[in-house]
């Protein structure tokens, strides 16, 4: 494969002046993009001694794609054919649940034929669309109509040769081949026919005999009968007589589709051949000197036509060469005239013989693909197809594999199968357009382990629309939407690990945007407990940095997550504990804001008793309780609750005096801006005092609202 050259526009250096750049100590450098098939290219110095040769020129970075990015009609073509591809694969997937032999059953072949015909029809649509001279809203065509025409001819030939209607695998192929040729390579042209039919004496035209030979060869009976009829007016009586004899013969050539049994067709063909022989005998009786008219030797031309009808291969080949027709025409005519019972498996030998004398055009990939298909060399056809269009080679290979047309010896554990190789290379081309990621990965996921891994890498990089400019909704809506979309794809392809990675990244983004509710749910969804812990720390940071009200607001968003959480192991339990603490603690602040002091007091005690509160938060909780201890209208804590608070306060004081203050006081210290451990201990003295007063109130004021001890 020859290297492809890519030139940057606008150029960094004028062509031929590259040396100047090199002498200036600069060269080109590049880095690959994970986004698509592109490189970021820039000039960099070759001398890295750290010189500071400040240049005043611009230092641009170029993006260059090494694939031609699909655009306009091509995108549509890619998207629509992928639908067929997916249905085909659903069928293959379903086949795995059946017996292995099912793929060779006529039911399976019928389906594969159907999907392949769908491809053919779709390519045809695209070709027609591309052929229309019209203004195109989505820009000029990326591929010419002729390109789609060649895909059309290749794919339909593949169907004719390799996917016959089930039950007709062994039927003669000639008629179908000729039909294919007549659809894709129309000869002779309609204009020629119109011109000749407008003449009174068409045989006087130089194109008359070549035209008549060609329509005979192509089996275009209507046209050939018309002109044989004109010969009834020819001045030569011999020719008139011969035309009279030929007309019914041409008219009555047996056609396979008119017979219900091949035996009857074969019998009719033999009888028909006898009639052709009779014409030959009649021709030979024409004296040599009567074989000319004023223009040429009509006898020789008619002899060629009779030779074709007789099925003389040498005549057919010579006539084709004279007419400028190629090997395809000879092969198709072979199946009509030389051997009307020619079968697909015998076609290979015929094609080999014909191609020996009339080789395909090596500069024409379409012709090379056709010849490889005729020769029964599907892998060779694939090679040429991949040069014509990776779409064609991928979809050929995809159908060829289940048909058993590709080398089936298990590839070494490492290597890709032929099919995967071609499908992956198409998928890589698709990756040049990142917006087509769903289509790209659909192809990749059909390619075994290697394909799955590659698709994973693309899937984890599907942008989560992290930049507000990329979307109209709120950032969190955009992220949620993107994650949902990717999760669905992950589910369909059973890529749990990918889904989790994406959730982790999404969680990180949400934390940045203080979308803690989403962040927590993504962590839980990814079962990433460590990250969950980090998110909760961020939420608790809100308290430390911005105070209770902000914190209560943020934490309220994570409360719903508690309900759908499930955990089994101890590690998970630790992080879930922290989540519970954050939610419950924020609840306390909400109670306070709503002046529900009874609930607030009872929850503070619960957090201590049930050991939900981490040690570093004990002092904060105790400070929070001061306001409640001092609440005048009622005693909010039972004596034993107050004793619990005192117990914790004692533990903190003792541990702090033993030098472990850091374990307990770090959070409280941080809430006192610019304060240290000493200030924190000072604060706790206030708690101690409040507790002392509270106990005093408990003994004195038993007439107040009594809280039953829990």
């Amino acid at each position: 494969m020859g290297a492809q050259h890519i030139n940057l526009v606008p150029p960094q250096v004028e062509s031929g002046h590259f040396d100047e750049l090199l002498q200036a100590g600069q060269t080109i450098s590049a880095t690959t993009s994970p986004f698509d098939n592109s490189l970021a290219v820039f000039l960099s110095p070759t001398n890295i001694s750290g010189s500071n040769s400040s240049s005043n020129q611009e230092e641009p970075v170029y993006f260059a794609s090494y694939d031609v990015i699909p655009s306009s009609e091509r995108r549509l073509f890619i998207a629509d054919t992928q639908v067929i591809f997916s249905m085909f694969h659903d069928m293959l997937e379903a086949a795995k649940t059946r017996e292995p032999s099912w793929l060779q059953s006529s039911e399976a072949l019928e389906l594969m034929r159907k999907f392949s015909v769908d491809y053919v029809n779709f390519i045809k649509e695209c070709w027609i669309h591309a052929s229309q001279p019209m203004a195109r809203a989505d820009g000029p065509l990326q591929f010419s109509a002729d390109h789609y025409r060649s895909l059309y001819s290749c794919f339909s030939l593949f169907v004719v040769l390799y996917l016959p209607e089930p039950g007709y695998e062994d039927a003669p192929v000639g008629e179908e081949l000729m039909e294919w040729l007549n659809i894709h390579f129309i000869e002779p042209s309609t204009e020629e026919g119109d011109h000749l039919s407008s003449l009174d004496k068409p045989w006087e035209d130089v194109e008359f005999w070549p035209y008549l030979k060609r329509v005979t060869l192509r089996g275009l009976t209507k046209a050939s009968l018309f002109f044989f009829n004109t010969l009834l007016q020819h001045p030569s009586e011999d020719l008139q007589d011969l035309a009279k004899s030929i007309i019914p013969v041409v008219e009555n050539q047996p056609r396979l589709q008119n017979f219900s049994a091949e035996r009857d067709f074969a019998f009719a063909s033999r009888r028909w051949k006898d009639k052709v022989k009779a014409i030959r005998i009649e021709m030979d009786r024409v004296p040599e000197d009567c074989r000319f008219d004023e223009f040429e030797n009509w006898w020789d031309s008619l002899s060629d036509i009779v030779g074709i009808l007789e099925g003389r291969s040498s005549v057919i080949q010579r006539v084709c060469e004279d007419l400028g027709a190629d090997w395809k025409e000879v092969c198709a005519a072979w199946g009509i005239f030389v051997d009307s019972r020619l079968r697909r498996q015998d076609l290979v030998d015929v094609a080999a013989e014909v191609l020996e004398n009339m080789p395909p055009d090596p500069t024409n990939l379409e012709d090379m693909i056709h010849s490889a298909l005729f020769l029964g060399k599907p892998e060779q056809a694939l090679r040429h197809a991949s040069q014509l269009d990776t779409w064609l080679s991928a979809h050929f290979a995809d159908v060829m594999e289940p048909l058993g047309l590709l080398e089936s010896d298990e590839p070494a554990e490492s290597e890709l199968s032929k099919r995967d190789e071609y499908v992956l290379s198409y998928a890589e081309y698709l990756h040049s357009d990142p917006t087509q990621w769903k289509i790209t990965i659909a192809y990749m996921y059909s390619c075994g382990d290697i394909g799955r891994e590659r698709a994973d890498e693309i899937l984890v990089r599907v942008p989560l629309k992290l930049h507000p400019s990329e979307t109209s909704g709120t950032p969190e809506e955009a992220i949620a939407q993107a994650v949902k979309e990717i999760s669905e794809v992950c589910f369909n392809h059973q890529r749990e690990a990918v889904r989790r990675t994406v959730c982790r990244i999404a969680a990180q983004s949400c934390v940045r945007q203080k979308e803690y509710g989403l962040a927590v749910s993504y962590c839980i969804s990814a079962e990433d407990w460590v990250s969950l812990g980090r998110v909760i720390d961020s939420i608790l940071e809100e308290y430390i940095k911005n105070g209770a009200a902000d914190f209560a607001k943020q934490a309220s968003k994570i409360a719903p997550s508690l309900q759908d959480i499930q955990f089994d192991s101890a590690t998970e339990a630790i992080f879930v504990h922290r989540l519970i603490f954050a939610v419950r603690y924020s609840q306390i602040h909400r109670y306070k804001l709503e002046k529900d002091y009874v609930s607030a007091a009872s929850d503070i005690v619960t957090l201590f008793r049930e050991e939900i509160a981490p040690k570093s938060w004990w002092p904060v909780l105790l400070c929070d309780s001061v306001e409640l201890l001092q609440y005048g209208p009622a005693l909010l804590f039972s004596t034993s609750d107050a004793a619990e608070l005192l117990k914790k306060l004692e533990e903190i004081s003792i541990r702090a005096s033993q030098g472990s203050g850091d374990d307990y006081l770090s959070v409280l210290v941080r809430t006192i801006k610019g304060g240290g451990e000493k200030d924190a201990l000072e604060r706790l003295k206030v708690v101690r005092l409040a507790l002392a007063r509270y106990f005093a109130r408990c003994t004195v004021g038993s007439n107040k609202l009594a809280i039953p001890s829990s």
Binding site: A3, L21, S53, E59, V61, S414, D449, I505
Partner: protein, 345 residues
């Protein structure tokens, strides 16, 4: 495919005041970080389909010498960049809501220019390897609170030019059935054991493979790859995207690119040189090019090879050569490396 393509590449104007030494795209390929002799690091948004309308970019100032390389951390750690400079420092930058890009860390243990920085695969956690002209390699391991520990050790005498991490999962381990094959296929690489390993390229013409030993809690030189005859300028370990073997590409002052392959964990590294003479002799190349190639012996590039970079799937290698061309290489089915395209400046 068409033999010659013009890439409609709309350049991003970086507004750097001096030569760019490195440009790196982030995980999504949506942002571009560049660094320059002007001592600055810049970050641009690359907007889809319209690279021209960049947001002008952010300038990250902090280095006191030319900045050689930048590296993006995995997004699960946040928007984090590392940069290394002639000033001997590695700086860690973080983008925070409302505050933009700020320097959050400064690694100053090296005593000479730091030439290369590389983040470990995300499965290993936030780890950064750095290569310096002081001959040492350092590996930073970040903790949740942003603090880090550093391992620093001698790498290559004279100096280290580049570092590149191995994929976290050993190639083949996904394909080879494991003894406990009960794990569902959907579990993916996170479930398999991961390895901490990277390659370094040095001024001693060597490439070294370093592995972390959990038992001794230290980095150990596992293998030395000998083959280059001059400074090794760059090393790139291929991502393990379902490939059965490990691949390392190295670029050198000796004008060669070597591809090192290892069939299995126990197999030796085998080297193959890319052969540009087979590909570059095509007629489109300028006259000067053709003669330069004709003069270069087989297996040699016309000039020093500065940089090698693998595509996402690890199946395509971009080689930047001092002759001003970027060539793209692929291994064909027969295991031969072919040049599939080249880019002219």
């Amino acid at each position: 495919m068409a033999p010659a393509t013009v890439s409609d590449s709309v350049p991003i104007e970086t507004a750097h005041e001096d030569m760019i030494h490195d440009a790196q795209l982030d995980y999504y390929g949506k942002r571009l970080a560049t660094c320059s002799s002007d001592r600055n690091v810049k970050v641009f948004d690359v907007l889809e389909g319209d690279a021209q309308k960049t947001t002008g970019g952010h300038t990250l100032k902090g280095h006191t010498g030319p900045v050689w390389q930048v590296a993006w951390a995995h997004p699960k750690f946040g928007h984090i960049l590392a940069s290394c400079s002639y000033d001997g420092k590695v700086l860690i930058w973080k983008e925070q809501q409302g505050q933009g890009w700020t320097k959050v860390g400064e690694h100053t243990l090296h005593t000479a220019s730091v030439n290369s920085v590389s983040w470990a695969p995300h499965e290993l956690g936030a780890m950064l390897a750095c290569a310096s002209s002081d001959g040492k390699i350092s590996v930073l391991t970040f903790k949740d609170d942003g603090s880090w520990t550093a391992d620093i050790f001698n790498g290559h005498a004279i100096g280290c030019n580049a570092v590149s991490w191995a994929p976290a999962v050993i190639p083949g381990s996904l394909i080879t059935p494991q003894s406990q094959s009960q794990t569902a296929p959907s579990q993916g690489p996170n479930q398999t054991s991961s390895i901490k390993r990277f390659a370094s390229a040095g001024c001693d013409n060597l490439v070294k493979i370093w592995g972390y030993r959990e038992d001794s809690q230290s980095w150990v030189e596992e293998e030395t790859l000998e083959g280059h005859t001059d400074w090794v300028r760059d090393v790139a370990w291929a991502p393990n995207i379902g490939l059965p073997r490990s691949y390392i590409a190295t670029a050198s002052q000796d004008k060669t690119v070597l591809i090192w392959t290892k069939e299995s964990a126990t197999a030796p590294w085998v080297k193959t040189a890319l052969d540009p003479s087979s590909a570059l002799a095509s007629p489109v190349a300028g006259a000067t090019m053709a003669s330069a190639v004709a003069n270069a012996p087989a297996g040699k590039f016309p000039d020093v090879v500065w940089r090698v970079s693998w595509s996402l799937a690890g199946n395509l290698l971009a080689v930047s050569c001092g002759d001003g061309k970027v060539t793209l290489w692929k291994e064909n089915l027969k295991g031969v490396w072919e040049c599939v395209s080249d880019m002219n400046s």
